[in-house]
């Protein structure tokens, strides 16, 4: 199977100190990999480097063969991600955030309506769709971030601690959705402390301790 996410010697240094030591791995199509590790071990920094939120100190990231730093646009067409603390526009309602992301990714209006409605209903956000995200709880904001990632087309999905503020039903729903994405051939990399998520989904497991990553 083709490699959808290729990470080669990616590292991140701050003042000579490694926040993420050089790491290489590749994920195939329809594969779910889970990264676990204690707080402060470098999971979020690694995710930020993989999504291009911060530049890596060394190494390359390729998504479906496109380099994150050279073909940024092509990579962003194929990769969706949800950070551990999603950020939102103050002036836009939850539903408008969904519409904005979907429209910018050329999703058809009818599809936004049908899939958006379902996502919002499944995540329990339907009643609060016209509220602003600053009126949401932490868990609701995380759900909105997930809905925004799921509404758009992608080949690779990166999720940083997606269950940190979710209730039990939402975790079940997330597991179900991620399984369906895998069946549809999507590649998923997620970091979590949630053992249920690891047991239910992980095809491959990575441990990150003191900025060093090892595959289990």
């Amino acid at each position: 199977m083709a490699n959808m996410l290729e990470v080669e010697e990616i590292s991140k240094q701050y003042d000579g100190y490694y926040a993420v030591s050089p790491v290489s791995f590749a994920l195939h199509q329809a594969e779910i990999a889970v990264i676990t590790g204690p707080n402060g071990s470098g999971k979020t920094t690694l995710f930020s480097c993989l999504t291009g939120l911060i530049p890596a100190s060394s190494g390359t990231v390729k998504v479906a063969g496109f380099d994150l730093f050279e073909d940024e646009l092509e990579v962003h067409r194929r990769m969706a991600s949800v950070p551990d603390v999603p950020r939102f526009y103050t002036e836009l309602t939850a539903w408008e955030h969904l519409e904005f992301i979907a429209s910018a990714n050329d999703v058809e209006k009818s599809e936004i309506e049908s899939r958006g409605n379902k996502l919002f209903k499944d995540f329990g956000l339907w009643e609060a769709r016209s509220l602003f995200p600053h009126n949401y709880s932490r868990g609701m904001r995380l759900k909105l971030g997930l809905a925004m990632a799921f509404i758009r087309p992608f080949d690779v999905l990166l999720l940083d601690e997606p269950t940190s503020a979710l209730d039990v039903e939402s975790v079940d729903l997330l597991i179900d959705l991620l399984r369906r994405f895998r069946e549809a051939g999507k590649t998923i990399l997620l970091s979590t402390h949630d053992q249920r998520l690891i047991d239910s989904l992980a095809d491959r497991r990575f441990f990150i301790i003191n900025s060093l990553i090892k595959e289990a």
């Binding site: 999504t51 939120l53 911060i54 526009y89 103050t90 836009l92 519409e99 992301i101 910018a104 600053h134």
Partner: protein
């Protein structure tokens, strides 16, 4: 209560430290040089205040002699009374709407959850806000005292005259301290009374406002007020006899009133509901502190959030795809984020475009351009900064940086351009000449300002900070760059006339805009880590 006292002392110390930091005095530094510096500050500000008071005494004296030269002291008292009565009415209204005792979010957890003696806490909390509030009135009293002295000792240059001025000022100050404290303690009593136990007595507003109207009513309906001789009914409280130094009876009465109000506050505070007070005031405290330390963006964002949550929102249907979706989002942001303060940049553009063809000389024009850049640079980068604050969303959009930059910078351009063209139109009417050169360069000038401001924001941005929503604002470099970028076409437009002038200025304007745009795109693509 010891812990609460210690906590409050720390808060007071921090507050004092904040104000002293303006004069570069470090409270933590116990060295001899720092003590000498403190002494220097005291002496310097003593003389500074004296100079200011003497200056205002001249102005105040003139005003008093115009109003009522024979009874200047009575007029001073009436003025103080009127201001105090109005402030008291406003204070009572505020206290009956929201707790006058302000708690921060930290206080809400550390203080309001404890079974601390409410009376002791209220009395301990009173002094710092009272002092901050009273300062303005003290200054006013001193000025009025000095102004009254000016009428009696005008032109006297002896040292004794200075002591007389100071004596007038101090006696006026001594009179206002207890009266102000009495009013302040009464306002707090009303606020405490409203939030006793679990009840929220909002009805208290009506009797309290009626009570607050009494001193104002006496002043207004007493016909002596109109002649500014001072209200005969209230005069005993703030006796104008401080001219002769025999105001002890009013001082005594004022002190008794203050004591009475403090006793009232003490007695009503027993069942004061601290949690409710904290719920009402923690947001206000947060905004005040954020504004005090210069986090204006945070304050604006919170205000916008509060405004959006409370009002009905209109919407625009999302019919667009690709980069047009960004334009749709920007339009919604512009419309929902609109407030009356945004009229000022439009007025600036209008007035500067009106004056630019008329003012002579490059220096005057440069100064006008400086104000233009200073005012509209931040407005034109508002959308870009908002997008950068949502860095994880922006970074995932399948859009080129050029597209994002153009959409973000162009969103405020139509309104500003319209204001600029309107200004040029008025300028043409006033001068009876159409400044065609300026008409051609106006879009370029605004675009250059937008791009130079964007360059500054993008150059100062750091990805690690953008993740947390921290975006720099337009700074000095952006303003200087903007002035340089706009001065050249304006100079060409004012130097060369006819077709040559139009050609030179328009071309230079376009070239500069293009260079700035290219550099802004480069800066956007290469935001530092």
């Amino acid at each position: 209560m010891k812990a609460i006292h210690w906590l409050r002392s720390k808060q007071e110390e921090n507050e004092l430290g904040y104000w002293l930091s303006f004069v570069a005095y470090d409270q933590q530094d116990h060295s001899l040089t720092n003590k000498i510096y403190l002494l220097y500050l005291v002496i310097f500000f003593f003389f500074w205040f004296m100079t200011v008071f003497f200056f205002f005494a001249k102005v105040g004296g003139m005003a008093l002699s115009l109003l009522n030269p024979d009874q200047a002291a009575n007029t001073s008292v009436t003025i103080i009374w009127f201001i105090l009565a109005c402030w008291n009415l406003f204070g009572l209204f505020k206290s009956s709407k929201r707790s006058p005792i302000v708690f921060s979010e930290t206080d809400q957890v550390l203080v309001c959850q404890t079974p601390v003696n409410r009376r002791a806490l209220v009395m301990r909390w009173l002094w710092m806000p009272w002092f901050k509030n009273a300062l303005l009135f003290w200054v006013l009293a001193l000025i009025l005292g000095f102004s009254t002295a000016e009428l009696y000792y005008s032109g006297a240059e002896s040292t004794n005259a200075i002591f007389n001025y100071v004596g007038f000022g101090l006696r006026a100050l001594l009179q206002i301290i207890p009266i102000h404290l009495a009013f302040y303690a009464f306002q707090w009593s009303v606020g405490v009374l409203r939030l006793r136990k679990n009840d929220q007595k909002n009805w208290i507003m009506f009797p309290v406002i009626a009570l607050g109207l009494i001193p104002l009513g006496i002043l207004i309906f007493d016909n002596t007020f109109y002649s500014l001789y001072g209200s005969t009914h209230l005069i005993f409280f703030m006796n104008p006899d401080y001219i002769n130094g025999t105001a002890s009876s009013s001082l005594l009465l004022g002190s008794l009133s203050a004591l009475l109000m403090l006793v009232l506050l003490f007695s009503v505070s027993r069942h004061f509901n601290l949690n409710r007070a904290a719920q009402e005031t923690s947001e206000l405290e947060f905004l005040t502190t954020a504004a005090k330390y210069g986090f204006t963006d945070l304050v604006e964002q919170r205000r916008l959030q509060n405004r959006l949550s409370s009002k009905r929102k209109f919407t625009l249907p999302a019919k667009h795809k690709g980069s047009a979706a960004l334009s749709w989002k920007n339009r919604i942001q512009v419309l929902r984020g609109w407030n009356w303060k945004q009229l000022f940049p439009l007025l600036t553009v209008f007035s500067i475009s009106l004056g630019l063809p008329l003012v002579p000389g490059l220096v005057s024009k440069s100064l006008a351009l400086f104000f233009l850049v200073l005012q509209i640079g931040p407005i034109m980068t508002q959308r870009l900064r908002s997008d950068l604050a949502c860095w994880p969303i922006l970074q995932q959009l399948p859009l080129r940086k050029q597209q994002i930059l153009v959409q973000d910078l162009i969103s405020s351009l139509p309104m500003l351009l319209a204001a600029g063209l309107l200004g040029l139109g008025f300028s043409a009417i006033l001068s009876k000449t159409v400044a065609i050169n300026y008409l051609f360069i106006m879009p370029g000038l605004l675009a250059t300002i937008a791009c130079t401001a964007a360059i500054d924001v993008l150059r100062k941005s750091k990805r690690d900070l953008l993740i947390n929503g921290t975006v720099p604002s337009v700074g000095t470099q952006g303003v200087i760059l903007g002035v340089i970028g706009t001065v050249i076409p304006v100079w060409l437009a004012s130097t060369f006339t006819g077709l040559v002038g139009i050609l030179f200025s328009t071309l230079s304007s376009l070239v500069i805009t293009w260079i700035c745009y290219k550099y802004a795109v480069y800066s956007f693509k290469n935001i530092r880590s």
